[in-house]
């Protein structure tokens, strides 16, 4: 059983997935951040691989990626940092990133290396369904990696079902049709989440985009398996405290 399946079998509600950027705030803080997240209650970690042109991310996450790139982060460096991470990190970890750097690294080599170090799944928002089936699914599945698709309030029911059938691990529900870190009113999202809840999807659903505090987390988790926090955590790391303190403070605020 994959780590993701194991997690969602064991825990059906209030699953907390936290996004962090590899190589941020410092080049070598990747592991420290992951440890802090695990120690303070994150059930799952989404580790972002920085990219120069992250279309689906908002300004906070892009800025963290820009900093990480300035710090010298590359995919090769990331795999070096992750070489032994499974000795300490037991929660599932999915890598989030954009296709171009993976193509340059070599997509097959990337998947093989990710599986080898103990990564559980991939979120690559600019691989659309059509390209996934044609070009990438076989390579990803060969390495036993989960692949997580995004759905949005604009996605048709038929398409949600197709994306769900292709996803493994979980399905990523974008809370509003917007980029990460937006401050839009959250309440209209509820009917969309209810709709997802009623669709009998095969995957557990995690809600991302716009989750920033205890209230938004609770609302998302009411209808789904849990939620993903990104920009709000990156902002918390910006505030200057050491990683462990900042993470503890932030996650306590969400989970207490």
């Amino acid at each position: 059983m994959s780590r993701l399946t194991e997690l969602f079998t064991r825990k059906k509600n209030n699953v907390l997935n936290v996004y962090c950027t590899a190589g941020y705030p410092e080049l070598n803080s990747t592991l420290a951040v992951m440890k802090a997240l695990q120690n303070n209650g994150a059930d799952l970690i989404e580790l972002g691989m920085p990219y120069s042109d992250p279309l689906a991310d908002g300004p906070v996450i892009q800025a963290s990626g820009t900093k990480a790139l300035q710090n010298g982060m590359t995919i090769a460096t990331l795999f070096e940092q992750l070489a032994d991470f499974r000795k300490e990190i037991t929660v599932p970890v999915v890598l989030m990133g954009y296709l171009n750097p993976l193509l340059q690294y070599g997509f097959e080599k990337f998947c093989a290396k990710a599986a080898e170090v103990g990564i559980d799944g991939l979120i690559i928002p600019d691989i659309p369904m059509f390209e996934y089936e044609k070009e990438y699914a076989a390579v990803i599945q060969k390495q036993g990696l989960d692949f997580i698709f995004l759905v949005t309030p604009e996605t048709s029911e038929e398409r949600i079902k197709k994306l769900d059938s292709l996803s493994t691990g979980f399905l990523y529900a974008v809370s509003s049709s917007s980029i990460t870190g937006s401050d839009k009113d959250f309440s209209p999202v509820e009917s969309y989440l209810q709709r997802l809840q009623g669709m009998g999807l095969k995957n557990p659903v995690l809600v991302g985009f716009g989750i920033k505090d205890k209230a938004t987390f609770a609302m998302a988790a009411k209808y789904t398996a849990g939620a993903i926090i990104g920009s709000a955590y990156i902002k918390a790391l910006e505030n200057g405290n050491d990683v462990e303190t900042a993470t503890k403070e932030f996650l306590t605020g969400i989970l207490r």
Binding site: D53, L69, N100, D126, P128, F130, E131
Partner: protein, 419 residues
């Protein structure tokens, strides 16, 4: 009279349209030209892009759309633009040079051919709000212009650095009623303005149309923009026939950044094997100087702004900031059609440095009384790199006028009295 010309344009085009339906150079249903193209977009953009993909051809073929589009091209843009025999330039290079005068389009460049088409399409899709990206500001001005024409809200994203460098165009956009929003992320130039425009589109999935200015972006943009610009080569064919007795030139030369004027100038010659298609990229301070925008020479296969193409990038796949004296060619990618023309050998790709382009601009000004845009000057500088035959017909796409580049030209004149 405009009716007559409209009919003439349509008749002239129909033969070429027919040939193109069997071409290797129009994309397949998934937007691929060979291995380049496609639609690498996050799910958040699916609805918008899918709406466009399923509707663009149907709308573009509607008689009411064609009628309005042709009318505006004629009455508002000022088409057909002249095909001008450049006598002194021809003598200088010992060949027969014709200039396709896109610089005489309203707003001063070919960009408006596309924005007129896309605004009509956006209105038929029921959109109430237009967004665009711009580098030098030419596409931003062309977009702001058609938005004013149709009374529709216009937001233009422009890199913070470009806003500083291109003050007159910023002022033009504002005077036309557009809101110019600085892109402050990443390198604060064209590629970042494009990212910001795409993000705006993600945040506004219902009422907004994104007018991309070049033959880049996810399918169907490269094809749609190429079709709107194809009026350039459509006119060249019948104009050349009138002037020389043959529709086909020996060579067509155009500059390429993203590649919209080149796509338009090549379009109706793509399947005419006797016509040599020559694309001129910006070499900046030299192809290998580290300050260049010659994508076919420096780029590798990659994905940028939603399509698979050649992309200038680091070994690690981070997109790099290109350099050219000409802001309109300062883009780290190239449209997938051009990547395919390069890869298949159908197109011949040359490059011109900043200095060579400047020299060409001053030469054209002195010999023909035409001050070309810096972008177009790159196309002219190819004349020095080609073996030209006396009886051969060369068509150069003079994509824009040089008024916007006066500050640069003035700097050159101050530094060098010789030119």
């Amino acid at each position: 009279m405009s009716y007559h010309i409209t009919r003439k344009l349509e008749e002239q085009g129909s033969a070429a349209e027919y040939k193109l339906s069997r071409s290797n150079f129009v994309p397949d249903e998934n937007g691929y030209y060979g291995r380049f193209g496609g639609a690498y977009i996050p799910e958040m953009l699916h609805r918008n892009v899918e709406e466009l993909r399923t509707r663009y051809l149907e709308i573009m073929h509607e008689p009411s759309f064609q009628g309005e589009y042709q009318q505006l091209l004629h009455d508002y843009v000022g088409r057909p633009t002249p095909l001008y025999f450049a006598e002194r330039l021809s003598r200088q290079y010992g060949t027969q040079i014709f200039l396709k005068r896109e610089d005489l389009c309203h707003t001063g460049a070919h960009k408006v051919n596309n924005t007129v088409g896309q605004i009509l399409l956006a209105l038929r899709l029921g959109k109430k709000r237009i967004i665009a990206e711009t580098g030098a500001g030419q596409h931003g001005v062309a977009t702001a212009t058609v938005c004013a024409l149709k009374g529709i809200e216009c937001i233009v994203y422009m890199g913070e650095k470009d806003i500083e460098r291109q003050a007159p165009n910023v002022a033009r956009m504002k005077m036309l009623g557009a809101k110019v929003i600085p892109a402050t992320s990443g390198s604060k130039t064209l590629k970042d303005a494009t990212n910001e425009a795409i993000r705006d589109w993600i945040n506004n999935p219902h009422d907004t149309h994104y007018i991309i200015g070049s033959v880049v972006g996810p399918h169907p943009y490269p094809d749609m923009v190429a079709r709107f610009q194809s009026v350039i080569s459509k006119e060249v064919r019948w104009q050349l026939k009138e002037k020389t007795g043959s529709e086909l030139p020996g060579k067509v030369i155009a500059c390429v950044g993203g590649g919209s004027n080149a796509a338009g100038a090549f379009y109706h010659f793509l399947d005419e094997k006797s016509v040599e298609l020559i694309a001129v990229e910006a070499a900046g301070e030299g192809v290998h100087s580290g300050k260049s925008a010659a994508t076919t020479q420096l780029g590798r296969d990659g994905v940028l702004h939603g399509s698979r193409s050649l992309v200038m990038q680091t070994e690690d796949g981070q997109v790099v900031e290109p350099h050219s004296i000409s802001a309109g060619l300062d883009y780290p990618g190239i449209g997938p059609l051009h990547a395919h023309l390069f890869d298949s050998g159908r197109g011949r790709f040359l490059s011109a440095t900043d200095e060579e382009a400047l020299k060409a601009a001053f030469e054209v000004a002195k010999l023909e009384g035409i001050i070309p845009a810096l972008e177009s000057a790159h196309a002219f500088s190819a004349l020095n790199q080609l073996e030209l035959k006396k009886e051969e017909t060369i068509v150069i796409c003079l994509s824009g006028r040089g008024d916007k580049d006066l500050a640069t030209y003035m700097r050159v004149m101050e530094q060098n009295d010789e030119i």
